[in-house]
């Protein structure tokens, strides 16, 4: 994982164009090598199950000229409890998130759109009865971004290069993470970044916007329905000729990969950031 340890300056590209819309104002003059400070919210599932996705996120942000901080107090956004019917428990964990990321006014970036949606949208509901806390949640939520959203819309980088970490020419299906697509309205940023990746071709699948059946505790509570939904997703990808599925939600990735492995399918599953490493760095 060379990028993760590389000194900041060596990997730094000049940070030029600014954001086009949304997000916090982070403008740097063209040509100067000045770091944009960001706070990484790695998210619990990435932290505990996919730590390399976290490392590649740091590597990408640093390559794009960001100065990445990792606030040590972070845990989880609280979404699992809210969606399972435990708003009080969710609020206690969300409090921790806000305490951690309100301490600095730097933008917050997460490699997991669903958690960003929780912060921006779920907290509105969680703190509806607490105007003081709601104001903090809105302030932090306004500068909390998905990784593709931040790179494309805030940094203004429509493509960042990258190489598919497998056989050259692999046909890839993109799976839209529900909460990033419908919750954040970010259909374009991940596809934009995927457009700059060498070594794979994007194939169109039927109903690419459809849920894969993960849904957090839904996958445990309605395991059979959840599995049938994963099968539909996998079968459509295969029918379209895909040999790999790429997404930004490690919940979806674990669900689809876990099902593909159980079925013995010849299908690789990757987080988008796995494809955004420069050639030879994997």
């Amino acid at each position: 994982m060379s990028g993760f340890f590389a000194p900041f300056a060596a990997n730094c590209e000049a940070f030029g164009e600014t954001r086009r819309r949304g997000g916090a104002a982070v403008r740097a003059p063209v040509g100067t090598v000045r770091a944009v400070r960001v706070q990484l919210f790695v998210t619990c599932l990435v932290d505990l199950l996919y730590p390399k996705v976290g490392e590649r996120t740091v590597a990408l942000l640093e390559r794009l000229g960001c100065d990445v901080a990792f606030p040590a107090g972070q845990t989880c956004c609280g979404q699992p409890a809210l969606n399972s019917g435990y708003p009080e428990q969710a609020r206690r964990v969300a409090d921790r998130f806000l305490d951690t990321f309100a301490a600095s006014s730097d933008p917050v970036v997460a490699p997991f759109g669903s958690c960003v949606h929780m912060v921006r949208h779920g907290y509105e509901r969680l703190y509806a009865d607490d105007p003081g806390r709601l104001a903090v949640a809105r302030e932090v939520g306004g500068r909390t971004h998905s990784l593709p959203g931040f790179v494309v819309e805030v940094l203004g980088r429509e493509e960042v290069g990258g190489r598919y970490p497998g056989e050259a020419g692999t046909p890839v299906a993109y799976h839209h993470e529900c909460h990033m697509l419908r919750g954040l309205g970010e259909a374009a940023p991940p596809l934009s970044l995927l457009g700059g990746v060498q070594g794979c071709t994007l194939v169109e699948t039927e109903r690419a916007d459809q849920c894969c059946g993960f849904g957090g505790t839904f996958a445990l509570k309605l395991a059979q329905v959840s599995t049938a939904m994963a099968d539909e997703k996998l079968d459509r990808a295969i029918a379209a000729g895909a040999r790999a599925i790429v997404s930004t939600d490690v919940g979806c990735l674990m669900h689809l990969d876990g099902r593909a492995r159980r079925r013995g399918l010849d299908l690789e599953v990757h987080h988008l950031v796995d494809l955004l490493e420069p050639e030879g760095s994997l």
């Binding site: 996919y50 040590a72 409890a81 921790r96 109903r207 445990l220 939904m229 876990g258």
Partner: protein, 469 residues
């Protein structure tokens, strides 16, 4: 249990039904894409939402105006506080007219109040005249979609049924012959029925008019040929004026079928007059049955629903399990919301809000912008608060205690990665690097059909601390 709720939801895919539903949903998705080219969809949704929200916000005053205008046009108005009252009113109206035969046009509200059962008990023969409803009724089955009651059935099942009813053989591939058979049988019914019973898509308070929207023409016949027309509507179907109604009259078919007009739209104001040869009597039955109680709660927006069926086709869970799995007269995402909302305290409905992966496709499809996914989350919390699942509640309580503190969170990670790791690996059957094929409780539900990621030996925060911290 009320008529609205028949059994607790079933969380199993129904492969035979899924094939039909996928086809239907695919057709719907293609039509929806077409609709978005026809109109400025987001602006139209917002306007439709505004019209419906206005109606819900001013419901008592609009219902009062509607009643006054219906009466002024010569119609009669009946108020039913409960489903049972509504059914009793309609049975009474039929009985007082000595009706032996009733032509019934598809109405989910009639399904909600168990009208067919009530009429049958009273010895009144009520024949469903919508083709799908007719099929479902003759099979002794129930509708599985708001707009397409028989979407769960195959043509072969229909051909078999019609063969049994007629004594003649039908080719399942000859759909036209199947339709022609039903048309012939039902035509007799229309001509002889004493009473026609319909639902209502919207009622316009401004003039006391009822708007009936359909594809087949059976609603128009049911509201035209019998001497008495009974229209059953939930009180929330009222709209303030014709400007709003005109918008919804286009929005409903756009959301359902991707076209701005359904094959047939009837506007009924009072009984026949001025030389019109229609029914001499019009009775409007206004059903509350829990609706007023939903106003002012955080589920109020569910009353905006115009029953277009879009959220059903959009929902990937509905497409896997079919409408019957919900166990209630309203199925799909809107059913999972309004059934528990209207029933408030029924244990059978407490599970309904879990019939969703919260993917948001329902809310996105909704032409009146009901935040269905948010409401499902609200209902989950209400269900847990009312009837807590002790084990799960204890788990989330422990989770909150640990994960609201960084030290607790890191301790969990260490336990999962190190202490639990060996145990996990012992119970587990390895499945490639970092994957496990058989996980211990409470993740065994996952691994019954899927491999699962093993907890990382060294989580990200550990790596960062060692190398950067």
């Amino acid at each position: 249990m009320s008529h609205r709720v028949l059994h607790p939801p079933r969380a199993e895919p129904a492969p035979a039904i899924t094939v039909n539903l996928h086809r239907a949903a695919g057709n719907w998705a293609a039509k929806r894409a077409g609709a978005r080219q026809l109109v400025d969809w987001e602006a139209w949704r917002e306007e439709a939402r505004r019209v419906r929200a206005d109606a819900v916000a001013h419901l008592p005053e609009l219902i009062e105006r509607l009643e006054e205008r219906v009466r002024a046009a010569g119609g009669e108005v009946h108020h039913a506080a409960t489903a049972e009252e509504a059914a009793a009113i309609i049975v009474g109206l039929c009985g007082a007219r000595g009706a032996s035969s009733v032509a019934k046009a598809k109405s989910m509200t009639a399904e909600e109040i168990g009208l067919n059962e009530a009429l049958e008990l009273a010895g009144v023969e009520a024949v469903e005249t919508d083709l799908g409803e007719y099929i479902v009724q003759q099979l002794g089955d129930r509708p599985s979609h708001i707009l397409a009651p028989a979407v769960h059935l195959s043509a072969a099942q229909v051909a078999e049924l019609f063969g049994r009813l007629s004594g003649e053989a039908f080719d399942p591939e000859d759909t036209a012959a199947l339709v022609a058979y039903a048309r012939g049988v039902l035509r007799e019914r229309f001509l002889t029925a004493d009473v026609g019973i319909t639902g209502v898509n919207m009622a316009v308070a401004q003039t006391g008019s009822l708007v009936l929207i359909e594809s087949e023409g059976n609603i128009r016949l049911s509201a035209s040929l019998p001497r008495t027309h009974i229209a059953l509507m939930g009180i929330e179907k009222v709209v303030r004026d014709w400007t709003g109604a005109a918008h919804l009259m286009q929005m409903l078919p756009l959301a359902s079928h991707g076209r701005p007009a359904a094959a047939s739209t009837s506007v009924v104001t009072g009984p026949a007059r001025d030389g019109d040869d229609g029914p001499g009597e019009l009775h409007v039955v206004l059903l509350d049955a829990g609706r007023s109680a939903v106003r002012g709660t955080d589920l109020e927006e569910a009353l905006q629903c115009i029953r277009c069926g879009a959220c059903l086709y959009a929902c990937p869970v509905y497409r896997q399990v079919g409408g019957h799995a919900y166990g209630s007269s309203y199925s799909g995402p809107i059913g999972a919301v309004i059934t528990p909302a209207l029933e408030r305290s029924s244990p059978e409905t407490a599970q309904l809000p879990w019939m969703s992966s919260l993917c948001g496709a329902c809310a996105e499809a909704c032409p009146v912008k009901i935040p269905l996914d948010d409401q499902l989350v609200t209902l989950r919390a209400a269900a847990q608060a009312r009837d807590p699942h002790r084990g799960e509640a204890a788990l989330f309580e422990a989770w909150a205690r640990l994960w609201s503190r960084p030290a607790g969170y890191r301790a969990t990670a260490r336990t999962a990665g190190k202490a639990l790791g060996p145990l996990w690996r012992k119970a587990a059957r390895a499945s490639g690097e970092g994957w496990t094929a058989r996980a211990p409780f409470p993740f065994d539900g996952w691994t019954s059909t899927r491999d699962v990621r093993s907890p990382a030996g060294e989580p990200f925060h550990e790596r960062w601390r060692k190398r950067r911290g």
